[in-house]
């Protein structure tokens, strides 16, 4: 096979995904995200939808722009590792999230000097509740 023939066959074989279609899907999903964000849906539903849409976009990028769909499955397994580990990390954080004392009370932060709050009145630093005496 001549070099030219090799290049020609290479060109024929290299029919990648339709990147413009992927781009359009990503743009549409971003638009839907902004739409969901702007609607008055209940907070839980809104959060669930936004996370699902973000993952859909991330999967599109990984599968087509990063060519995971065309690679060997072993590479996809490597790529999934961080997702699995971060999921475990979230579960490992759960005991901390559910046993914090200060989340179980109506936690009101006393502002002793309003001037210190500046232009950020609703974001005071979280204060750890005192450790209860045993």
């Amino acid at each position: 096979m001549t070099t030219q023939a090799a290049i020609s066959s290479y060109e024929v074989d290299h029919s990648g995904p339709n990147y413009i279609a992927v781009f359009i899907y990503l743009a549409i999903l971003t638009g839907i995200e902004l739409g969901v964000y702007a609607t008055g849906l209940p907070h839980v539903a809104k959060v669930g939808l936004l996370i699902a849409l973000a993952w859909a976009k991330a999967v599109l990028v990984a599968m087509y722009f990063m060519h995971l769909a065309m690679e060997k499955r072993a590479l996809a397994l490597i790529a999934i590792i961080p997702i699995v580990l971060v999921t475990f990390l979230c579960f490992m954080l759960l005991p901390d999230l559910t046993t914090r004392m200060w989340t179980k009370f109506d936690h009101k932060i006393k502002v002793t000097n309003p001037a210190e709050m500046g232009a950020h009145p609703v974001a005071p630093p979280p204060v750890q509740a005192p450790i209860p005496q045993l």
Binding site: H14, G16, L50, A54, F65, H67, P82
Partner: protein, 207 residues
């Protein structure tokens, strides 16, 4: 060693030699190396976002991000990064098919997209710091915002430098079709940066 044992050992060795994975070659070493780096980087971002979620859930006084952060600006930034991912795959297509002018045009657009993104982020940070008084030292809302978006911004900066080096190599005629793999590896990094921003945009800005 008995003769039977020697044959058995020999047989086992022969089977293993046939079944071994092919050695890492220059053709696949770079891609595997980049994927390994990206997996580690994804863990760092994942741990950062998980920590952000834990801190936020634990704090009943956490503000609504949209009250402070500009959603319109960051939506445009998201769109620019998605566009730059498309220009990156077009640049790869150009170099893969030996079309240097296509490669250089689209790689220049990719670099431009990264620079515009960084410029908009600098504008956003300046607005938040100078006009809204946000600071990394003030509270956890501010600290997590600056750390996560700043870490991502550092990645974009790294990507701009990385892509610029490839663009300069292309202009110097040192990126022939045979080295298209270098652009594919750079593309993996750039698309990962896009992917992470998609998640940061949702978790930090929209939710």
């Amino acid at each position: 060693m008995s003769e039977a044992a020697a044959v058995k050992t020999h047989d086992r060795g022969a089977v293993h030699a046939d079944q071994l994975e092919p050695s890492l070659t220059p053709g696949n070493l770079g891609k595997l190396g980049m994927w390994t780096f990206l997996v580690g980087d994804a863990m760092t971002f994942g741990a950062g976002i998980a920590a952000y979620g834990a801190l936020r859930i634990n704090n009943p006084n956490w503000p609504t991000p949209a009250d402070y952060l500009g959603i319109t600006t960051t939506a445009i930034m998201t769109f620019i990064l998605i566009c730059s991912s498309v220009t990156m795959v077009e640049a790869l297509d150009g170099v893969q098919h030996g079309r240097q002018s296509k490669f250089q045009t689209f790689m220049a657009l990719t670099v431009l997209g990264g620079i515009v993104f960084l410029g908009m982020q600098a504008f956003e940070w300046h607005h938040l710091i100078a006009e809204k008084g946000m600071s990394i030292q003030r509270d956890l809302f501010d600290a997590t915002f600056f750390i996560l978006t700043g870490f991502h911004g550092c990645h974009v900066f790294g990507g701009v430098v990385y892509n610029s080096v490839l663009l300069i190599r292309g202009r110097m005629g040192k990126l022939p079709q045979a080295k298209a793999g270098l652009v594919e590896i750079a593309g993996l990094y750039w698309h990962f940066v896009d992917l992470v921003w998609i998640l940061i945009f949702t978790f930090i800005y929209l939710i």
